[in-house]
Symmetry: C2
Subunit: 452 residues, 2 copies
């Protein structure tokens, strides 16, 4: 972390009060203290509960006023009616930030909106910063801190989630998050704060937004344009449709607004918007494990003709181009093939591999494509048993992106093999691979255009 | 199998000659005999190889003429020049069918096209049926038979693949195939034959096509319309784009033609066309594990507001409708929620579950939705630990489709839990679940319209 940021006290607090934490522990009790211990937190913990003297071995305090020292953070999970006075108490005790897990504020009834107004007053008059209300808080696997009341997986993924929901802290498909901030009702800490925080966070290379609604559109767009010069931002907009937009209003009190306006905002901010959460991990992994690229000419190496053909279809679907292999590339590999074979892109290597050894042929063809100046990207349709060879080769060519589509039905088996051979940029279908490549290329093209 | 069909001798032969099988065995030798033994084939095997007296314990024959009896099938993998005379020899020996694995025919050079012409002659004049050439042949896990030269996983999935490539015999993502036919260059056995075969095959409930090109369009469409009255057909068209279409011509000698024409053909035949192979398994599993349905009103049960919102977005994206829960449904579950909660669809059950026991609340809400006449489909956003409860409930309501979206990053973990609780209709993102539901509904609507 380069500079101090007020969100440090939320994401890596040295000390934390858990206000309203229950004495009940064990499965189904959603006990934050227990989760925090299980998550391996190494800072100081101060339970606050007027009915307990001790919880899980920690001395409990009657109220925030009686806390023995100034703390970095308070996590508040009391009934809603007393939340404002607790926040005020925290501020008076010198606590810098509060996560409010309690719900029933701006997203609830009139009384809730009134209570949320009192929180806003505390921020303005007392200077305390508030995350939430109606927030699961934060998770930070890099510093063993989580305010979540559900057990979360720990993962040092260099991807951060900024969300208006804690429901996605468990990750999107194939996309764990190393850090997460749930803005909840966004009464104080907002998208701009959180994006600026991760901009300077060296643990994080990709920022993902789950957004239901936003205010301060101009400032948001300016911040994103600045951050995008160093880190990509991927966004999922919740409540794009009519019914989802209404549901978002009652979920976080967000004003969703017209889908078209949000699309335009993301487009103008150069944020990569996706409509399917399944695509987020595909894109994030391409950012994490591929070198930057701006070219669009794709070579395909395949052990099946059909594999090459559906990959070509995906290349065209997503606006990329099949590479036209250089004459010297074709000449250099032609002797591997039967004389009647028209060697081109895709390079179908099955027969040649069967005749002359698959590894030998694959290695020669992949290296030839990587050396070809007409090729910007290589997609290898690759069995799990070729991953090791692929890994060895791509390590020698760190500047050209190579992704692998591993055909087959058994995704667990494929994932296990990819892990064993430490090969991350693999995909389960060409469609998903090419969509990710398209989005990543758009990002780097934009970055180069803005910073020549 | 209800009636005899000539493809029986291909898919469940009682005896098979392997013509041109090598003496080399072991890893990397692509030995069909070895694969067939490993696949557990229980029929008679006759290797034909003039240079061997015995292969893997089986007596080898000099040529097809010297085979000791009439066989169901010959699998031919010799050099291309002698394939036509071998096929003629097979026909004269009374063998009913031949799979030609050898490549370099219609998809190759002039000589190849000439050789394929001789194969056509043999079909016409001698009555032998040919699968291929340039085909990996067939796989049939239900009868332990595979002509593939690569090891294939065995899976009793009730989904059949009819393909112009063997490259997909290993399955599409999350979509193993219990039976497969690779038509290769389609010189004789074609899509119509194979579709008609699986129409009558009680092992098979869903038919998947991978098509590069087709002739006999009218007959194909008529056949598909007939078959679709009992079984759904899902199609992936390879070579949709310009470059893919060219590659298909050199892959199987197919005339791909304009994408629009194929789209129209599939639409008119009511075939479910998908552009991403990743969607095939999603749809097939919905067919296999959900009851038929034609309604479009979807109720969503979720432990996170955001999960409900992105599900609503997917519902609208795919042309379905959020259900409006009946008054009595809402009244029946209202006491589970905080008084300020506006109970509706999606039903967000987290707070109620935390307060009153998650299983209790979830069970009551899910059963209420299943009993609601305004609800046609239920999507449950469901942690892995709720799968067991879900399974128990849906078993009691066999007539209403329930799918589960399991959020999280670790797909292997999710797959393992779903397997443990024997819960098949689960999806890794709402987008994928709703797309599958949309396609399946289209099929049943069509079927009802055609057969009132």
């Amino acid at each position: 972390m380069k500079n101090e940021h007020f969100l440090d006290s939320f994401l890596r607090p040295k000390s934390v009060a858990l206000v309203g934490v229950s004495q009940k522990t064990g499965r189904g009790t959603f006990n934050i203290l227990e989760n925090l211990m299980n998550f391996g937190y190494k800072g100081e913990i101060y339970p606050v509960n007027p009915n307990a003297s001790e919880i899980l071995g920690f001395k409990a305090y009657r109220n925030v006023q009686s806390l023995p020292k100034v703390l970095d953070l308070a996590v508040i999970m009391t009934p809603r009616d007393i939340v404002p006075e607790i926040v005020e108490g925290c501020a008076e005790r010198g606590i810098k930030g509060a996560i409010i897990i309690t719900e029933g504020f701006g997203e609830g009834d009139d009384e809730g909106r009134c209570l949320q107004g009192r929180l806003d007053d505390a921020v303005v008059s007392k200077g305390i910063r508030i995350l939430g209300p109606n927030s699961i808080g934060v998770v930070n696997s890099f510093h063993d801190f989580s305010s979540a009341f559900i057990p979360l997986p720990k993962d040092l993924a260099r991807v951060a989630l900024i969300s208006q929901s804690g429901g996605f802290f468990e990750g999107f498909p194939d996309c764990p998050f190393g850090k997460g901030i749930d803005l909840g009702n966004t009464s104080d800490v907002n998208f701009i704060d959180a994006i600026s925080y991760f901009e300077k966070d060296d643990d994080i290379r990709v920022i993902v937004l789950y957004m239901e609604g936003i205010r301060n559109v101009q400032e948001f767009m300016g911040t994103c344009r600045r951050v995008m010069s160093s880190k990509p931002i991927i966004a999922v907009k919740g409540g794009r449709g009519e019914s989802g937009s209404k549901a978002a209003a009652s979920h976080t009190g967000s004003l969703g607004g017209k889908d078209g306006l949000y699309r335009a905002m993301f487009r103008q901010s150069k944020i990569l918007q996706v409509d399917s959460i399944a695509a987020v991990g595909d894109i994030a992994r391409a950012f994490l494990y591929l070198p930057p690229f701006t070219g669009n000419r794709v070579a395909v190496i395949t052990p099946t003709g059909a594999g090459g053909i559906v990959t070509l279809d995906s290349i065209e679907d997503h606006g990329l181009q099949p590479a036209v292999l250089a004459r010297e590339t074709i000449d250099g590999i032609a002797d591997l093939f039967q004389p009647w074979t028209d060697v081109g892109n895709p390079v179908d290597i099955l027969s040649a591999g069967m005749a002359q050894g698959y590894k030998h042929v694959y290695t020669k063809v992949l290296e030839s494509c990587l050396n070809d100046k007409n090729v910007d990207i290589v997609v290898s349709v690759c069995g799990v048993y070729t991953l090791k060879t692929t890994k060895a080769i791509v390590t020698k060519y760190p500047e050209k992106p190579v992704v692998v589509w591993i055909p087959g039905a058994d995704q667990s088996f494929i994932a296990e093999k990819a892990k064993r051979y430490d090969f991350e940029p693999y995909y389960l279908s060409p469609d998903r691979a090419l969509y990710a490549l398209k989005m990543v290329r758009e990002y780097y093209k934009q970055r180069i255009n803005n910073h020549p």
